[in-house]
């Protein structure tokens, strides 16, 4: 059996100034628990209240988008596998990232959506957000990933960055980062 290089993982987290990270199947209650830990951590660090709210909000939308995606595909609760990391950059900004495996065509659509959002300024994002809010819900009662992405883009101080990396087995790893 291979020994896990914990020190290597630790060094990588330290290098990227990771406050909190998670990798594995994510349930509704885990989203709540990690969110509470995140808020507690930022409050203890005396982070500005607005930054704490924005980081929490972006984290929730990203994590719930991953669960919605996996539910839409018909995966069981256990297979909503997410990789999440929240880091504090040297300049004081927070980077919230989330990734999951997606079908290539879904990933390409997401990347195109995010690239289109990156071209919009704040007033245009607000207008799109308000328009999207008034669109009908998906059949399962969820508001769809579009509204969450718009909300994330509005809270981010820099354009969102997305990456799609092909994986063995034909699927792709989609990752999204927002800077607060």
């Amino acid at each position: 059996m291979k020994t896990i290089d914990l020190l290597g993982l630790r060094d990588s987290f330290a290098e990227h100034r990771v406050l909190l990270c998670f990798n594995g199947p994510i349930s509704k209650s885990l989203i709540e628990d990690i969110g509470n830990a995140l808020r507690g951590y930022m409050e203890a660090e005396l982070a500005p209240a607005n930054a704490t709210m924005d980081v929490f909000a972006v984290y929730i939308e990203m994590a719930q988008n991953i669960r919605h995606y996996s539910r839409k595909r018909g995966d069981s609760d256990l297979t909503a596998i997410a990789t999440l990391a929240i880091a504090r950059e040297e300049d004081g900004h927070y980077a919230v990232s989330a990734g999951n495996l997606v079908d290539p065509e879904d990933g390409e659509r997401l990347v195109a959506t995010i690239e289109a959002l990156a071209r919009l300024d704040k007033p245009a994002l607000k207008e799109s957000y308000k328009r999207r809010l008034r669109e009908p819900r998906c059949t399962d009662g969820h508001s769809g990933a579009g509204l969450g992405l718009l909300d994330i883009a509005r809270k981010s101080s820099q354009p969102l960055s997305a990456r799609l990396t092909p994986q063995p087995g034909g699927r792709c790893f989609f990752s999204l980062q927002a800077t607060i």
Binding site: N36, A49, I60, Q64, K126, G141, D151
Partner: protein, 128 residues
């Protein structure tokens, strides 16, 4: 007799609606995965209440702290319902109480208010 009382959970707010007084209160965080399920009973209650023939006023008191986009959508449905009733002549008012430490929720309330013509107060809580 037709009151609504839903306790808060980690990701959903407490909801209370009193038929005799017309007082509706929501407080706490709201980030359920499916807000439609959570808000459907309240929306149904409001629809019934706003059809009352005695025109008793409706008072919506909000102490919501954080809303995910799914909850924002449900709140918009509620405000649309109130707007329609207001235009139809019903007396109603909304007050959103927020802690001055939580500017984000005041900004969110302000965005909702942009689309409403009924009395809508956004009030900082005293103290912290």
């Amino acid at each position: 007799m037709d009151d609504l009382c839903i306790p808060a959970t980690a990701s959903s707010p407490s909801v209370s609606a009193i038929w005799d007084t017309g007082l509706v209160q929501l407080a706490g965080d709201s980030y359920p995965e499916n807000s439609y399920e959570l808000f459907a009973p309240l929306i149904a209650w409001l629809e019934r209440y706003l059809l009352r023939e005695d025109d008793q006023p409706l008072k919506l008191e909000l102490g919501l702290l954080y809303l995910n986009t799914s909850s924002v959508k449900s709140m918009m449905d509620i405000f649309d319902l109130l707007e329609e009733a207001h235009r139809g002549g019903r007396t109603l008012q909304v007050t959103w109480h927020y802690s001055p430490r939580n500017e984000r929720v005041a900004e969110l309330a302000e965005e909702f208010r942009e689309d409403c013509s009924f009395p809508f107060a956004i009030t900082p809580l005293n103290g912290n």
